[in-house]
C-alpha cells in the first residue's frame, strides 16, 4: 500500500476546560515529512493522536487521500506509530514484535517473518531478531518500534517524540536513520517534537504550535529567517530582544534606521527581534555602544554576550577566528546587519 496525503480540517479538541486544539488545520503531502513543534501542552501530541484515532476530536475532519476517516477506529486506520515511551511487547521477540501488525492483518507466518527480517535489516538489527525486548538498549528498542510501525506498509507514519528518551548521540544517529528510511520508503510522516533542532534537521516543513493553534508552517529556512509571529521568532532559534522606538515603519537600532518586517503605521516603544548572527561586533574604544560580558567558544563559532549602555544583554554569533581578540570587559560597537527586522509589542 502506498503513502497517502493527510489533511486535518478545523479540528477542535477540549479536555475539560483546557483547549488542546483550536480550529486546527494541517495538510501533509504524499511522501512529505512534517514536524509539529511547540512547547509542552501546545496540543501537538493531541493532533497526532487524533490522526491515529487514539483520541476523537470534538469537531472537524481527518482526511486521508481525501477520504474522511474521522469515525474509523484506530486499528483500521493503517497508520504506523512510534511512541515516546518504549512500547514493544515484552512477551514477544524482536521479530515477532515487528511482524505483529502483519499478524493482525492475517498475513501468513512465512511472509510476515520475511518482511520483519527485511525491516530489521533496514534498521540494522537483523542479528537481534530472536532476542526479547528487555535485552535491547533504548535506541535499539526505538529502532525495533520504527521497524514495527513500517512493517505493514502504513499509509501514514506517526512519530510521537520517539527520540526524547534517548542519549544525545543515539538521538542524532537515529534521527538520521529515520530520515533516510522515510525518504527511501517515501512514507508520509507526521512527527511531533519539542526539540527544534530535531524538527529543523528532519523535516520538509515544520509547523510551530502554540496554545492549540498552528502559528506558522513552513520550510525550516523560512521559519528561521522569516518567522511570521513573535512567538515563532522566539521559539525557533535564539533571538535578541532589543527595546526600540517605532516610527514610520522603521526602528532605530544602534543608531541605524531599519524598516520593520510587517509594515505598521503605529509608533511607540517596541521590541526588535534580531538573531545573534545578525549582530556584527567590532572592537573599538572611540564609538563603543556595549561591552563584552563573556565569550562562549563553540568551535568554529563563538557566542559573544554583550551588554549595552542601557543594560540590554545582546548575543552575537561570530566566527571564532574573527572574534578571538574579544575578552570580557572589551569595549565594542554593535550593529544590526538585517535589512528588515521583526518587532513585537514592548
Amino acid at each position: 500500500m502506498s503513502s497517502k496525503s493527510l489533511i486535518l480540517r478545523n479540528i477542535s479538541k477540549r479536555f475539560g476546560n483546557v483547549i488542546a486544539l483550536d480550529n486546527f488545520n494541517l495538510e501533509v503531502g504524499v511522501g512529505e515529512l512534517v514536524a509539529l513543534l511547540g512547547p509542552s501542552g501546545c496540543g501537538k501530541t493531541t493532533a497526532l493522536r487524533v490522526v491515529a484515532g487514539l483520541e476523537h476530536q470534538d469537531s472537524g475532519t481527518v482526511l486521508v487521500a481525501n477520504e474522511n476517516i474521522s469515525d474509523v477506529p484506530a486499528h483500521k486506520r493503517n497508520m504506523g506509530m512510534v511512541f515516546q515511551a518504549y512500547s514493544l511487547f515484552p512477551n514477544l521477540t524482536v521479530e515477532e514484535n515487528v511482524a505483529f501488525g502483519l499478524q493482525m492483518r492475517k498475513v501468513s507466518k512465512h511472509v510476515r517473518l520475511k518482511k520483519a527480517h527485511e525491516l530489521l535489516d533496514l534498521v540494522g538489527l537483523d542479528s537481534q531478531s530472536k532476542r526479547f525486548t528487555h535485552q535491547l538498549s533504548g535506541g535499539q528498542q526505538q529502532r525495533v518500534a520504527l521497524a514495527r510501525a513500517l512493517a505493514f506498509e502504513p499509509e501514514i507514519l506517526l512519530l510521537d517524540e520517539p527520540l526524547s528518551a534517548l542519549d544525545a548521540q543515539v538521538r542524532v544517529n537515529l534521527r538520521e536513520e529515520i530520515r533516510r528510511l522515510q525518504l527511501s520508503l517515501g512514507t508520509t510522516t507526521l512527527f511531533v517534537t519539542h526539540d527544534q533542532e530535531e524538527a529543523m534537521a528532519l523535516s520538509d516543513r515544520v509547523g510551530v504550535m502554540n496554545n492549540g493553534v498552528l502559528e506558522q508552517i513552513d520550510t525550516p529556512d523560512t521559519l528561521y529567517n522569516k518567522p511570521a509571529t513573535s512567538f515563532v521568532a522566539s521559539f525557533v532559534g535564539t533571538m535578541n530582544r532589543i527595546p526600540a522606538q517605532l516610527s514610520d515603519g522603521h526602528v532605530q537600532l544602534f543608531g541605524k534606521k531599519i524598516p520593520v518586517l510587517k509594515n505598521s503605521n503605529e509608533s511607540g516603544k517596541v521590541i526588535a527581534l534580531v538573531r545573534p548572527e545578525s549582530i556584527s561586533i567590532k572592537s573599538t574604544e572611540s564609538d563603543a555602544n556595549a561591552k563584552v560580558l563573556t565569550r562562549l567558544f563553540m568551535g568554529a563559532s563563538s557566542n559573544i554576550v554583550c551588554q549595552t549602555k542601557d543594560g540590554t544583554v545582546i548575543q552575537s554569533l561570530r566566527s571564532s577566528a574573527e572574534s578571538g581578540d574579544l575578552h570580557p570587559g572589551s569595549a565594542v560597537k554593535l550593529e544590526v546587519t538585517n535589512k528588515e527586522v521583526l518587532i513585537s509589542n514592548a
Binding site: L54, P73, A74, H75, F83, F89, P90, N91, F132
Partner: protein, 259 residues
C-alpha cells in the same frame, strides 16, 4: 557455590520458609501420615485411598467440582480482564468505588449471599448447577480482582495497548494477544486462586442444596474418617497437579526484567 547458596537463602527467606512449613506443610504431612495408618494391623498402607477411589461417586463428584471450578475461572477472566483494563485505561473515578465493591464478598455473610441469590436469580438459573460458578466468581472476586490489578499496574498498559491498536489489533486481539500474555503471572495466579477457592467451597453449596465434592466428602467422613482424610489429601494433590500441568503447558514468554 557456598557463597551463592548463602546469598540465596538469607535469614528473612529462611524464617518465612520455616513459618510456612510449620503452618502449612506440617498439618498436611500429619494428615497424610494419619490417612495412611491401618489401625487393624498397626502399620501403614494405601487402604483408605483404595477405598476412596473405588467408591462409586468419587470420580463423579470430583469431576463435577472441577468443571464447575473451570467455568468459574472462565467467567472470572472474561469479566475481570476487560473490566480492569478499561478501568486502568480510562482513569475513571469509578475505579475507587469498584475497588471497594470488590471487597464486599469478604464481609457479606455467605448465608445472606445464598438467600440473596435465591431471591434474585431467575428460576431457570436456580434449577441448574450452573448457578454455582456465578456465585463462586463473586466469592473469588476480592482475590482475583487484586491479583489482576497488580499485574495491570506493573506494566505500561496505555502505551502497549495503543501500540497494539495502532498496529491493527482490535480490542479482543489487544487483550488476548498482548495484555493477557504480558500479565501472564497475574493471570496464572488468578486462575489458581479462583480454581482452588471454587473447588473447596462448601457453605454456599450446602445452603443452596447442591452436591459437590466437598459436600460429598463430608457425608463420607461420617462413615470412615480416615477415608475422608485420604479423599481430602487427594483433593489437594489433584488440583495442584492440574495447575502445575497448566503452568507447564502455557509457554513462558514474558521475561521482562530477567536477563
Amino acid at each position: 557455590m557456598a557463597k551463592a547458596l548463602r546469598a540465596k537463602f538469607q535469614p528473612p527467606l529462611v524464617i518465612t520458609l520455616l513459618i510456612l512449613g510449620l503452618f502449612v506443610f506440617l498439618p498436611m504431612m500429619s494428615a497424610f501420615e494419619y490417612s495412611i495408618r491401618t489401625p487393624l494391623t498397626g502399620g501403614y498402607g494405601w487402604t483408605h485411598y483404595i477405598w476412596a477411589v473405588t467408591k462409586d461417586d468419587f470420580f463423579h463428584y470430583i469431576l463435577r467440582s472441577m468443571w464447575l471450578a473451570g467455568v468459574t475461572v472462565l467467567i472470572t477472566l472474561f469479566v475481570l480482564v476487560p473490566t480492569l483494563t478499561w478501568l486502568h485505561l480510562s482513569n475513571s473515578k469509578v475505579r475507587g468505588l469498584i475497588d471497594g465493591l470488590s471487597l464486599l464478598p469478604l464481609v457479606i455473610p455467605v448465608v445472606a449471599f445464598a438467600v440473596g441469590a435465591q431471591i434474585s436469580f431467575p428460576e431457570f438459573v436456580q434449577n441448574t448447577v450452573l448457578e454455582l460458578p456465578f456465585l463462586y466468581f463473586v466469592l473469588a472476586l476480592p482475590y482475583a480482582y487484586r491479583s489482576l490489578d497488580i499485574g495491570l499496574n506493573s506494566i505500561p498498559l496505555k502505551t502497549i495497548t495503543e501500540a497494539a491498536r495502532s498496529a491493527g489489533a482490535n480490542w479482543w486481539r489487544t487483550i488476548t494477544a498482548v495484555i493477557v500474555p504480558v500479565i501472564r503471572g497475574s493471570v496464572m495466579a488468578t486462575i489458581a486462586l479462583t480454581f482452588a477457592l471454587s473447588l473447596g467451597e462448601y457453605t454456599l453449596t450446602v445452603l443452596l442444596h447442591w452436591d459437590t465434592f466437598p459436600t460429598w466428602v463430608t457425608n463420607v467422613a461420617q462413615d470412615n474418617i480416615l477415608g475422608a482424610i485420604a479423599i481430602s489429601m487427594m483433593s489437594l494433590i489433584i488440583p495442584f497437579l492440574i495447575l502445575t500441568v497448566i503452568t507447564l503447558f502455557v509457554p513462558e514468554r514474558s521475561t521482562q526484567g530477567r536477563k
